[in-house]
């Protein structure tokens, strides 16, 4: 067989015409692959998480929330901590027709199975809705400033200034009339579980209130997040635990949708012309006309690229208007 395409190009890193075929033999020099885990193991007769046999745990009277502590923190919680986790999980369970419920209902509309809907609901948790990861990292940055010598109030002012207006701030206008977030913080205090997150959060509230023109207060993200962190859960663990908690109710929304609403078929849903704000209708050029009617998307100079970039940002749904910042390596040394 001759050379195919560019496969004899000298710039290629090796000779493509003489590449070895077949799979790679087993690696005998290193230990064989195993599912390595610090979390749990099982054998034919037992399941063990963080050293505790799960059957012995439940026979002793420990329950689901205890085992969440054990799985994530490798310890049995204090009774007060257990109470607080139950409290948080009740509050995280249901939130009406919010994003996770909507995700589950959309999936239900395709007449699929429950686990797809429950899983889909978890995907609703990001850096705006249920932003426990981003929120926790923000507070951790504040605590690092405190470790470096700033007071809580000074650290709070810095992170409030950096994050004001962000959906992961935990302070907003969302719960000015709903006492639930404030009650949650009061419960952490009553149970004697306050560590460092709630004190910092209280300073953040004050700092944001000073910066904001509108009335704001702690919201459910701020209360639940700082409560969960003060009972020892990391931001990532909190994110996952509460997303899964919400999925129980998403399952309920899935079932109600299946019970009460008709399925949605491909092609059934229309998008009315009046909702469309894109380019005007225009004729499709023939293939013959293609070369004379289309233009390329490449740019030879940064200046031209910038002009194209700005133009493309104006077309909705292309992704060009989403500008994400990535860490500057010069600041990471």
């Amino acid at each position: 067989m001759g050379i195919i395409g560019n496969l004899d190009d000298p710039r290629l890193p090796y000779d493509y015409s003489n590449r070895e075929k077949g799979t790679v033999p087993p690696d005998e020099k290193r230990a064989r692959f195993q599912w390595a885990s610090e979390v749990a193991y099982k054998n034919v007769h037992s399941i063990v998480t963080r050293g505790y046999d799960t059957t012995e745990l439940v026979e002793q009277g420990y329950g689901v929330c205890d085992i969440i502590f054990i799985d994530f923190q490798a310890r049995i919680p204090l009774e007060e901590e257990l109470k607080m986790l139950n409290y948080c999980m009740i509050m995280a369970l249901e939130d009406g027709l919010s994003s996770p419920a909507n995700m589950a209902r959309i999936v239900a509309g395709s007449k699929t199975i429950l686990t797809q809907a429950a899983g889909a609901s978890i995907l609703a948790f990001g850096h705006a809705f249920g932003a426990y990861d981003a929120f926790g990292k923000m507070l951790n940055k504040g605590l690092a400033l405190v470790e470096d010598g700033k007071t809580m109030a000074e650290a709070a002012k810095i992170i409030a200034k950096e994050n004001i207006g962000q959906p992961h701030l935990g302070v907003s206008e969302l719960m000015l009339k709903d006492p639930a977030a404030g009650r949650m913080i009061a419960r952490v205090e009553k149970l004697g579980l306050v560590e460092k997150y709630i004190p910092l959060m209280k300073e953040v509230i004050k700092a944001v209130q000073e910066l904001s023109d509108e009335p704001v207060d702690i919201d459910m993200l701020g209360a639940m997040g700082s409560a969960m962190f003060d009972i020892g859960f990391s931001p990532e663990a909190t994110w996952a635990i509460l997303a899964v908690t919400r999925a129980f109710a998403a399952g309920c929304h899935f079932m109600e949708e299946m019970e009460c609403e008709p399925p949605v078929r491909l092609g059934e849903q229309l998008t009315p012309r009046e909702l469309y704000i894109g380019p005007e209708d225009k004729p499709v050029p023939s293939l013959k006309e293609r070369d004379t009617t289309v233009h390329s998307g490449q740019f030879a100079t940064p200046e031209d690229w910038k002009k194209g970039f700005d133009a493309k940002q104006k077309m909705r749904g292309t992704g060009w208007a989403i500008v994400e910042d990535i860490a500057d390596p010069r600041k990471m040394q």
Binding site: T54, M91, A118, R183
Partner: protein, 299 residues
């Protein structure tokens, strides 16, 4: 800022105003303040009622027991997904979505029980009798009887029989689901013994889902509880990998061969073959289609 819901649906589950969130009539914050547990709230969510203490204890036991199962298909999914380092919820969602007709098929087991309990009623049979009918019908058809056997716990799932015992201790022995399930287990193994086959113990679907059914959860609600509950431990596994493992799962620098090391690949497909040129394509493709060997590999 609009606080209108995306969907305008009539819902009997909950409502949320600027003042409160209400689940099946109960203010969630009041429930938490009163000291109800998460398991109590699950009863309110799925059944619109506060459970008895024993019911709440049984759910706490069942979910506690089911939460962690080390490496099962769901945890393997979490590991695989997080190895690409997406956001953590993607790995957790994948883990929950792994549950299907083989891994944790709780809804199917529940529907099977409902069907045969109804038949017992209509055909005026006892639950013991209908259990035998169920076993014979499934086995005669060459179908697996749901709720029995576990591929890793060959002598019986360590969680299952204790769950049955706790079920009987907390909820009693004289209820429809436990009676039917016990009957299924008895007749299934009696028939296997007669056929010279080995004993197969109840698994966590047989035991756990029976308890959830007895607690009043619908087949899908019970399934949801089981599968979503596992999401927590899968999240812990994913998080462990994220914080202490190596992304991509193929590094040569790890002392142990990794999950996606090239040497882990075993290929069983067609032998290596030359790519035809595009000018040869039509003739090549026609011949290939006529010879039909490809059908051996087509999926």
């Amino acid at each position: 800022m609009s606080r209108e819901p995306l969907f305008r649906r009539k819902t009997a589950i909950s409502y949320k105003t600027e003042e409160k969130t209400v689940l099946r009539g109960f203010d969630l914050s009041d429930m938490a303040e009163e000291g109800y547990t998460f398991c109590d709230a699950l009863f309110v969510l799925y059944q619109g009622r506060i459970p008895t203490e024993n019911e709440a204890k049984m759910l706490n036991y069942e979910t506690g027991e089911f939460l962690e199962h080390s490496m099962s298909p769901s945890a393997a999914s979490a590991f695989a997904v997080i190895s690409g380092r997406p956001n953590l919820p993607a790995a957790v969602a994948a883990a929950v979505m792994t549950f299907g007709s083989a891994h944790g098929p709780g809804a199917a087991h529940g529907y099977m029980m409902h069907k045969y309990i109804e038949r017992a009623r209509v055909e005026e049979k006892s639950l013991e009798e209908i259990g035998k009918v169920l076993v014979d019908e499934y086995m005669d058809a060459g179908l697996a009887v749901m709720g029995l056997g576990q591929p890793q716990h060959l002598d019986g799932d360590p969680r299952a029989e204790p769950t049955h015992l706790k079920h009987e201790e907390l909820l009693g022995t004289d209820n429809v689901y436990i009676k039917l399930q016990r009957s299924i287990e008895n007749y299934f193994n009696a028939r296997r013994k007669k056929e010279g086959r080995s004993y197969v113990a109840v698994n966590m679907i047989g035991a756990g889902n029976t308890a959830l059914c007895e607690l009043g959860f619908s087949p899908n609600a019970a399934w949801c509880i089981g599968c979503v509950c596992r999401g927590w431990s899968c999240a812990a596994h994913a998080l462990y990998n994220m914080k202490k493992g190596r992304a991509w799962a193929a590094s040569k620098r790890e002392p142990m061969v990794q999950m996606l090391d090239l040497s882990m690949i075993k290929y069983l497909g067609p032998d290596d073959r030359e790519v035809p040129s595009l000018s040869e394509r039509q003739e090549y493709a026609k011949k290939q289609k006529e010879e039909g060997e490809y059908k051996k590999w087509a999926l």
